[in-house]
Subunit: 150 residues, 2 copies
């Protein structure tokens, strides 16, 4: 996927991240798109809002998409490089592509996914970087909890 096309998919995930921040949550958002460009589901980290550690942005978008027979051709868009939990989700369900807002503040499993044949596009988006950098600086314990480094 061309960077411009990938960038065009980012706004919904950023909206989700900003909505999470406004709720007092961890500002990570995601959106899952079908091969034909339809939005299948969108979501955001819900650890704080729902006291639910299982809802990372990517798993929330996956959940919101409901049951699907195949994920072939789908694109998971996320504001932050996916952690191992979300990378495992992407691998298990055979998503084709991950568009990542930024991979500076967190590494996760993106190289592992690339090695598994998943197309990875890193946008290095300044807004995504600023969202996470400011949040992590102000809430280091909460961020540590969210990635199991509490």
């Amino acid at each position: 996927m061309e960077p411009a096309a990938a960038r065009a998919l980012l706004p919904v995930a950023v909206q989700e991240a900003r909505a999470g921040l406004a709720e007092g949550g961890i500002p990570i958002g995601a959106a899952l798109y079908a091969a034909d460009g339809r939005l299948l589901g969108r979501g955001r980290n819900r650890r704080v809002q729902d006291d639910d550690p299982s809802m990372h942005a990517e798993t929330a978008a996956f959940r919101a998409a409901g049951r699907q027979r195949t994920y072939n051709g789908t694109t998971m868009v996320t504001t932050l490089s996916p952690c191992w939990y979300c990378s495992g989700l992407i691998r298990q369900f055979g998503m084709s592509r991950v568009v990542i807002g930024e991979a500076t503040t967190f590494v996760g499993g993106r190289e592992w996914l690339a090695g598994c044949g998943v197309e990875i596009v890193v946008l290095d988006d300044a807004e995504c970087r600023a969202l996470m950098r400011e949040f992590v600086a102000a809430n280091p314990e909460l961020w540590g909890e969210d990635i199991g480094e509490g």
Copy 2:
């Protein structure tokens, strides 16, 4: 962990799997135990019951355990070898040990987890094997959907 001690942790996960089967769901159950042996959370696959693809047995048990500051020393008990999604969960949150009822009907990420330093105990339990074997034979499409091979 000694096999006898691991086996003693299996019944709650099997109860969850059987409850799922009785509900018309995919019969996989899990339970998360603290380092001191306390049961933190238990759950079962909820794809059918809740139309929720994100709730595998392990993620359901993780969710039920609520927010935890650390997973150091925890044991995830599951009736079936964890898929990549659930293996990623176990790695990201630094769980110490996985007790697996059976790893015959599905492989998943257990060797990868072992390579990451997670202790893996496979019980090769006949009841767990029979549960999955019968379910997969009767519901091959539903099982394929649950592991992204629809």
